[in-house]
Every structure is written in structure tokens, then in C-alpha cells.
């Protein structure tokens, strides 16, 4: 009888311990996601200003600029639906379009001389980096959270206690960022 009580107590302690650990990780995941979300909003706010200020100088890159504007609109509406998969896909496309715009802007030395454009560029670069690094951190936390759920014996209880694996922030399937950069070592 005593043995049974002790075993039950130990089991209960273990369940409480595991549950609390998982809750802590779930909150970390939610917080890490919110950090990205803040930066995404910031990026949406910055882009119209940027496009407006480089439009005059980059008039031959109309297509690129339009793609950025469209990608932003799609990302904003995806953000309103709240569907995570949709957000990931649309924001990935926006990142890509912005990357192209930045690469092209290298060809316009006048842009670099312009104070407003320069500080806007710095702000957008900063936001882009923030998104990248927050994403990196988010994925680390999600991996930890998912691993904690999937290891034995927690995997038998995690589902029952209402925990589901979180989604990693990955690049969309057709993203250009996925392509392996070619390295030429034949110097």
C-alpha cells in the first residue's frame, strides 16, 4: 500500500514537472513568434516610404518596385487572416523581392549619397536582419519545444495534455533563397 502511494506520488510529481516545463517552452515559442511579428509589422510600415524615396532614381526598375509593393500587400493581407502557413509563404516572397531591390540599388550611386534614402536603407536592413535573427532564434526554441514533446516517455502524454508541435519558420518551397550558392574555388 505504502509502496503504491509513493509510486503514485512520484508519477504525479513527474507529470507536473513535465507539464510545467512544456508550458514554459510553449510560452517561449509564442514570445519568440511575437518578436518576429513586431518586426514584420515594422517592415510593412517602412516599405512604402522606401519605395517612394527610391522611385525617382530607380525608374528603370519599375518591375522590381512593383513586385515589392505587391508582395507587401499580399503579406499584409496574409497577416490579417492569421494563417501561419500563409504568413510564412507571403513574407518569404517579400523578403525575396526586397533582396532583389537592395541588390539592384547597388547600381545607383546617387541613392547612396542621399541622406534620407541612406537612413531608410539602414532601417530596412536593420529590420530585415532583425527578422532573420528572430527567425533563427524562433526556430531554435521551436526545435527545443518539439523535441521535448517527442522524446519518450513524454510523447505518450504530450498530446493528451493538449500540446501540439509548433511549426518551424521555413522558407517556402519555391524560394530563391533555397538555391545553393555556387562557390568557385578555381583561383
Amino acid at each position: 500500500m505504502t509502496v503504491l502511494v509513493i509510486v503514485l506520488l512520484v508519477l504525479a510529481a513527474w507529470v507536473i514537472f513535465t507539464f510545467n516545463g512544456l508550458v514554459r517552452l510553449r510560452n517561449q515559442v509564442a514570445n519568440a513568434f511575437r518578436q518576429i511579428d513586431v518586426q514584420l509589422k515594422r517592415r510593412h510600415d517602412l516599405i512604402p516610404n522606401l519605395v517612394e524615396s527610391v522611385k525617382g532614381e530607380m525608374k528603370f526598375e519599375k518591375e522590381t518596385l512593383e513586385r515589392v509593393v505587391q508582395a507587401r500587400a499580399a503579406a499584409v493581407s496574409a497577416g490579417q487572416t492569421g494563417n501561419t502557413g500563409e504568413i510564412l509563404a507571403k513574407e518569404g516572397m517579400l523578403t525575396q523581392a526586397l533582396g532583389r531591390l537592395f541588390a539592384l540599388s547597388e547600381n545607383y550611386p546617387n541613392l547612396k549619397a542621399n541622406e534620407t534614402v541612406k537612413s531608410l536603407m539602414e532601417e530596412v536592413t536593420h529590420t530585415e536582419n532583425q527578422i532573420g535573427f528572430s527567425r533563427q532564434f524562433y526556430n531554435d526554441v521551436v526545435t527545443k519545444f518539439n523535441t521535448a514533446q517527442q522524446v519518450f516517455p513524454t510523447n505518450m502524454f504530450a498530446g493528451v495534455m493538449g500540446f501540439t508541435p509548433s511549426q518551424l519558420w521555413e522558407l517556402p518551397q519555391d524560394s530563391a533563397e533555397r538555391e545553393t550558392p555556387k562557390v568557385d574555388l578555381s583561383v
Binding site: 519568440a32 518578436q35 536593420h126 536582419n129 532583425q130 535573427f133 528572430s134
Partner: protein, 347 residues
């Protein structure tokens, strides 16, 4: 070794070195008790004939039972460590004349942004960004926890580095903060000071010698020679303690630099940036005037501008606060190579 193995190895090393520090305190304290205050827990109880005609155990006097020296040594060590824990970071900032970075300036705005980015990568609150008015290239981090941490770079660094290189440098300092190196190095400096103080005190007490001349010697006449040898060894240890602890602190600092370099590569996922930043720092050999010796072990490179970091071998291994630049750059290049060419999984 990959990043994670390196971190584990570094942690183990640090624990070992800290243990040696505590051992030093105990050694100085216990030796002092033993030789001067006649502390001896194993001594045979003295018996004497009492007035009633029985043999009674004489109660040992207080210094025989309580290791006062050890307790005082440990208290002084803990006290100094606590003082530096609460006041150290502020003192460092004042002594380097650092000022908060202002967002109006382009370069400093960029620096503030980069600090925020690295904090996001590490998942920590952004530390305060400070600027040291000095044209040389250097950077340091201080603070006792990630919540009140500070990252400072010189004006020269802001001017000379590209955004990516600055990211590498700030990533290096950020991982010092993330690994709690900043706290460790602050306490380490205090312990070094405490050991120097105690060793000086114990060494000077020699002329008031207790054991050997007075009562203590009567009950251990047989071990006279052994006592002298023990005493000599202890005195030599006491005199060398500050030197040894200094070497130890430098060893800690060197290990931590490698770890922070690895951490920077992990945060930025771009070892190449830190490599070119270190190359630039290496090329600027002028001493950083604003940063004095006391802060040397917190910086990304030795501010004294001595060429000891260019040397390899025993001298550099013992006396430098930082590992040779060449070794650091080589370690990073290996990391960069490994990220570009992931090894196929062993079957």
C-alpha cells in the same frame, strides 16, 4: 571540435580554474591558521590532573578549534567579489570615459541597430550601447547579467568596420554576455585582488611567527624537520599566489575568447565577417589609450597594443590575456569552411 563541443570544453575548464581559486583561499587561510594561530583539528587532547584527583581533558583554546584565518580569508574574498559584482560595471564604464551611443549619428545609429539584432539572435534583451572616445579599434562588454549588460566599442571601430564586421564584433561581445563571461571576469578580477592582498598580509606576518617557537612545538617535537619543509613550501606558495592567480585569470580569459569567437559565428552564421574584423583589428597595433590594463581581459583584443598576441609558444601561452590573433583567425576559418562544406553524415 564543433561549436557545442567547444562550449562544453570551455565550461569545464572554467569550473576547474574557479575551483583552483577557492583552493588558493583555503590554502592561504588554513596555512595561516596552522602556522600562526596554532589551529589543529587533529591534535591530541591535553590531559591534566584535576583538583579532584581525576585526569581531565583540557578544553582547547578558541584558535585551536576555529580556523579564524580561513574564515577571514574566505570572507574577504566574498566581500571583494560582492563589491565588484555591484559596482564593477559602472567603474569600468567610468574609467574608459564611455558615453551612450546617440541615434542621430549615422554610424552610432547603425551600432545601436546591430546591438539590437545580435540581442534578437541570442534571444536576450538588447544591452545598452556605449561608445569609447578612442581612435583605436577595440570593444568590450560588461555587466553582471544579460538584463543590465553593456556593450562598448571605440569610435575607431565604428569608423573602420563595415556593417557585417561590426555585427561580428558585437556578436563576439554578445556571446560574452550570453555565456555570463562578463560576470565571471568581473568576479575573477576581484578574486585576483583579494589573493594579492591576503598573500601580502600572510607573508608579512612571518616575523610574528607562532608555531615552532612557542607552546605549539612541544607536542610535535618529532616532526620538526617536516614542519620546516611544510612551512617553506607554504611561504613560497603564498608569495607566488598572486602571480599564479594572474596566470590563471589570463588562461580563463583566453579560453573565453575562443568561446566568444565561436559564439559570434553561431549568432551571425557568418564567421567570415568576424575574420575580416579581426584582420582589421590586428592591423591596427596602436594601444587603446582610453582603456587601461584593468579592463584588458574584457576587450576583444589586448588594448595595450603589445605584440605579444603575434607571438606563439610558451611566453604567449602564459602571459597574454588573449590568444594569438593567428590562432583565433585560423579557428574561425575552420568554422567557416565547415559551414560551407558540411561533412557527410558517417554511416
Amino acid at each position: 571540435m564543433n561549436i557545442y563541443e567547444q562550449q562544453t570544453a570551455n565550461r569545464r575548464m572554467t569550473a576547474l580554474i574557479m575551483a583552483v581559486f577557492v583552493l588558493f583561499f583555503l590554502l592561504i587561510g588554513l596555512g595561516f591558521d596552522y602556522f600562526y594561530l596554532n589551529y589543529d583539528p587533529f591534535r591530541q587532547p591535553e590531559v591534566q590532573l584535576s583538583s579532584d584527583g581525576y585526569y581531565e581533558v583540557k578544553p582547547p583554546s578558541l584558535p585551536h578549534r576555529v580556523p579564524f584565518g580561513t574564515i577571514i580569508a574566505l570572507l574577504i574574498g566574498a566581500g571583494l567579489a560582492a563589491n565588484s559584482y555591484f559596482n564593477g560595471p559602472g567603474m569600468v564604464l567610468r574609467s574608459t570615459m564611455s558615453r551612450l551611443a546617440v541615434p542621430d549619428d549615422d554610424k552610432e545609429r547603425q551600432f545601436i541597430n546591430v546591438v539590437a539584432e545580435m540581442a534578437a539572435a541570442a534571444g536576450l534583451p538588447p544591452p545598452k550601447a556605449y561608445v569609447v572616445p578612442d581612435p583605436d579599434l577595440n570593444a568590450f562588454a560588461t555587466g553582471t547579467s544579460p538584463q543590465n549588460a553593456v556593450i562598448a566599442v571605440t569610435e575607431g571601430t565604428l569608423q573602420a568596420m563595415t556593417r557585417e564586421e561590426l555585427q561580428g564584433v558585437v556578436g563576439h561581445e554578445m556571446s560574452h554576455i550570453r555565456n555570463y563571461d562578463t560576470r565571471l571576469m568581473t568576479i575573477c578580477a576581484a578574486l585576483m585582488g583579494a589573493i594579492a592582498l591576503l598573500s601580502d598580509f600572510a607573508g608579512r606576518s612571518m616575523r610574528f611567527g607562532g608555531r615552532g617557537s612557542s607552546r605549539g612545538s612541544s607536542d610535535r617535537r618529532g616532526g620538526g624537520l617536516l614542519m620546516i619543509v611544510l612551512f617553506a613550501v607554504w611561504i613560497v606558495l603564498v608569495i607566488l599566489a598572486p602571480l599564479i592567480s594572474r596566470l590563471l585569470a589570463m588562461a580563463i580569459s583566453r579560453r573565453r575568447e575562443y568561446l566568444a569567437d565561436a559564439g559570434s559565428a553561431e549568432l551571425t552564421r557568418n564567421p567570415q565577417a568576424l575574420i575580416s574584423a579581426l584582420e582589421k583589428i590586428r592591423a591596427a597595433v596602436m594601444p587603446t589609450r582610453a582603456i587601461n590594463n584593468g579592463v584588458a581581459h574584457m576587450c576583444i583584443t589586448d588594448p595595450r597594443g603589445s605584440l605579444i598576441e603575434e607571438k606563439m609558444g610558451l611566453t604567449a601561452d602564459l602571459l597574454a590575456t588573449h590568444p594569438p590573433m593567428e590562432k583565433r583567425i585560423l579557428a574561425l576559418k575552420i568554422m567557416a569552411y565547415q559551414t560551407e562544406h558540411p561533412q557527410p553524415q558517417a554511416a
